[in-house]
Symmetry: C2
Subunit: 170 residues, 2 copies
DNA sequence: GCTGTTTGGTTATCCTATAACATGGCGCCA
DNA sequence: TGGCGCCATGTTATAGGATAACCAAACAGC
């Protein structure tokens, strides 16, 4: 199993993406299986489209791409349903601040306490685990007598790859 | 000046909201003034609509409410422009995970390092400051060689007021 | 008065997401 | 082997969120 550690930074710009994709699909299969559900062709295509890169993509972008490749054009609801199932399975996450979705390349079970780093330049997304941060958030919530169900940490900025590229271009 | 501390928890359910509203409007005036801009009637109405409660409201909800009260119906773009100016002035924030807006009742200057607590039951929103959390996030970003520009922390859950109400109802 | 900026109106369009209802497939088991 | 129930998807329609492009009025400063 080549899977990455639960804390995964940004993939290097020129890396071989094949294994990343295969790994995601493998985990998707397993996850659906565990729940007695099926990774149908539709779901698989949607997943592959999203996991094509490390970027976060909109549902309609997925729709477009599938239409261009697959021939026939799906209804939005079909794409959303597929995405929903993938999100429920934990292999795709939603980037709330951009209404977009990205594949999870850092298997972390049911644990949703990841910091999401989103590059404003190339659109790439990475997840990192930082328990202390979520403990701090839990503490702050408790202090406000707030019963926390879920915490969302999304960080906007520029990834190392883009910074390097910028520097080189100047 | 009755203004709340920079870290403000949830307002108590039955509190007198008048001063909250006045305070927000006062700060809006000052903020627009500082920038050489104007808190016009339109902007003021939109602000008052948002600051009416401690809840996060959608742009179209604001639109509806203004139409019902003010008589004539604005174009969406007008509401969005007003909201944009209020967000830029720092008196209104955006709740990314719900595409909604709420008034800032916790003056914190240009500092955007607040944890946002959003009650799933009553819709109320509170901001709390927790420097350690944002330091932790900054550290994690740095470790991933990510140049962080802005961090977003939104927590979903149930506020104390709703928990109390629930308990009482049972 | 002229000029530039701010503000907001008008119209149109795009993107994001879901409701409601109908159909086909598949496993189960009696 | 017929019926039940759930999963998955199709079809159609609509709701909800946001912005582009263009134009006109209001106001500030010289």
């Amino acid at each position: 199993m080549p899977s990455m550690p639960a804390t995964a930074g940004f993939a290097s710009p020129g890396h071989d993406h094949g294994p990343c994709l295969d790994d995601v699909v493998e985990r998707a299969k397993a996850a659906f299986d565990r729940e007695g559900l099926r990774l149908t062709p539709l779901r698989r295509h949607v997943l592959e489209e999203i996991a094509q890169s490390h970027r976060a993509v909109g549902a309609y972008e997925v729709l477009e791409n599938l239409a261009r490749k697959g021939g026939r054009r799906l209804a939005p609801i079909s794409v959303y349903r597929a995405i929903d199932s993938l999100v429920a399975a934990g292999v795709v996450h939603r980037l709330e601040s951009r209404n977009a979705f990205f594949a999870c390349h850092a298997p972390h079970g049911g644990d949703r306490r990841q910091i999401i780093l989103a590059c404003e330049q190339c659109g790439a997304v990475a997840e990192v685990t930082e328990k202390a941060v979520f403990q701090g958030i839990a503490g702050a919530a408790k202090a406000a007598s707030f019963d926390m169900r879920r915490a969302l940490v999304e960080v906007m900025g520029v990834c190392g790859g883009c910074r390097t590229a910028e520097g080189a271009a100047t």
